[in-house]
Point group: C2
Chain length 247, copies 2
């Protein structure tokens, strides 16, 4: 089954290159359905193709409409991005919450859409009349100048993230044929080191021995040694001690 | 107290305008500390100033270093962005998990940093040697062409989001002097409507009455009426019924 996709709708965009940048931002997150309402430039548009940087699949599928009603005719749930909340009785979602709300509807078979306004002015109140909710990206209140393609990028990113199963943290991957040292190997390494340090009375004051061993153990534990690293460090300890004895 | 900030480090950036776009992306999310390592263009740079679009505070604080070591000298924890995981024994974080890991360290007094590589090639393996972990934004595997400023935007966005207390959904705000209708007002409205519909035997078949009342109640409940809307709808019902009676 093909994953359902939201339609992203650019209302009265002013610059062709922003359509290309939006297409590129969308495809980064697997989205391909872009619609324009009353663009303020000719279409097809060379600047858009240039800025799309290989995201041809988005431009090839792109649809142009004269009115917002026509662009939304087949859509069931429509959210509109605005920079500031308006005096308009709609709930306001963060970009993340919007993706979490829209994705299950899309999976349930509804066509969902997200609107973006013209570069300079954003959506007008009248553009919001067909919308179910507002999307506003939380921004630095003293400098909120997201451009059109950046707004598209963040909405597409949150859509992708809402369905993405990437582990937040992937632990260190050992090189081919190696594995992380286990705690027995770590303890043997500490024992080897401590035995050699005992011989040279490294601790000087007897009651520092326990705390220094704890510190050395902490260093080696935090280093997440591979089995090969433990082997290497045994060799280092042995060589240094041997050099001293020979010395 | 001033919020601690990460240092963002652009390693061998190739185009001045990308430094400006990165500055703008950063300031949108309240970040102002940008460093360049061995930029491939002169500094100061007119294209950077132009692309920064008012984010002067970032460019004014910007520092340029000849080597990565010098740029990281005062940093305690350093994460490096790469497009693909490398064969390098470091844990890999999503952008969100990286922000969640770095923010508490910064709040604890550590200077944290995030590295970004040159536009065309990204960071080289040698650039990663001083880093604690890798950051990779999950992307469409068939088209991953985030540009430098977009990568900076997403890292800055996640940093802001990790400390942001904006409610995911802000419910509908009633206009001045109004409030959402309560359930008693809703029930009174339904009763009024049903009484009028009873008079014209709207239901036709008696056993459809209950299910149709349920449907109408659902419609009005979902509409999240204000008290003024309930008042308005009482008037609409009354007028429609009156018209019929006069007719």
């Amino acid at each position: 089954m093909v994953e359902p996709e939201p339609v992203l709708v650019l209302v009265r965009p002013q610059m062709g290159e922003n359509v290309g940048s939006a297409a590129r931002a969308m495809l980064n997150f697997g989205l391909t359905r872009l619609r324009l309402v009353a663009p303020q430039f000719g279409w097809p548009n060379a600047k858009a193709v240039n800025a799309a940087s290989g995201a041809h699949v988005v431009l090839n599928r792109l649809e142009v409409f004269e009115t917002l009603e026509a662009a939304l005719a087949d859509c069931q749930t429509v959210f509109a991005t605005t920079a500031r909340p308006r005096e308009w009785p709609k709930p306001v979602f963060t970009a993340e919450a919007a993706a979490c709300a829209l994705r299950p509807r899309a999976m349930g078979g509804a066509q969902v859409a997200v609107l973006f306004g013209p570069e300079r002015t954003g959506l007008e109140t009248d553009d919001l009349r067909l919308c179910d909710a507002i999307v506003t990206v939380p921004l630095n209140p003293d400098y909120s100048s997201l451009n059109l393609a950046q707004a598209v990028l963040l909405v597409a990113y949150e859509w992708y993230r809402a369905g993405d199963a990437t582990a937040p943290v992937t632990p260190i991957q050992p090189p081919e044929g190696r594995r992380l040292a286990n705690k027995a190997e770590l303890a043997a390494l500490i024992d080897h080191l401590v035995a050699e340090l005992d011989e040279v009375d490294f601790w000087r004051v007897a009651d520092r021995r326990a705390s220094l061993i704890r510190a050395l153990t902490g260093v080696l534990a935090r280093a997440e040694l591979f089995d090969s690293d433990a082997h290497l460090l045994h060799g280092v300890i042995k060589s240094l001690a041997g050099k001293r004895r020979r010395g």
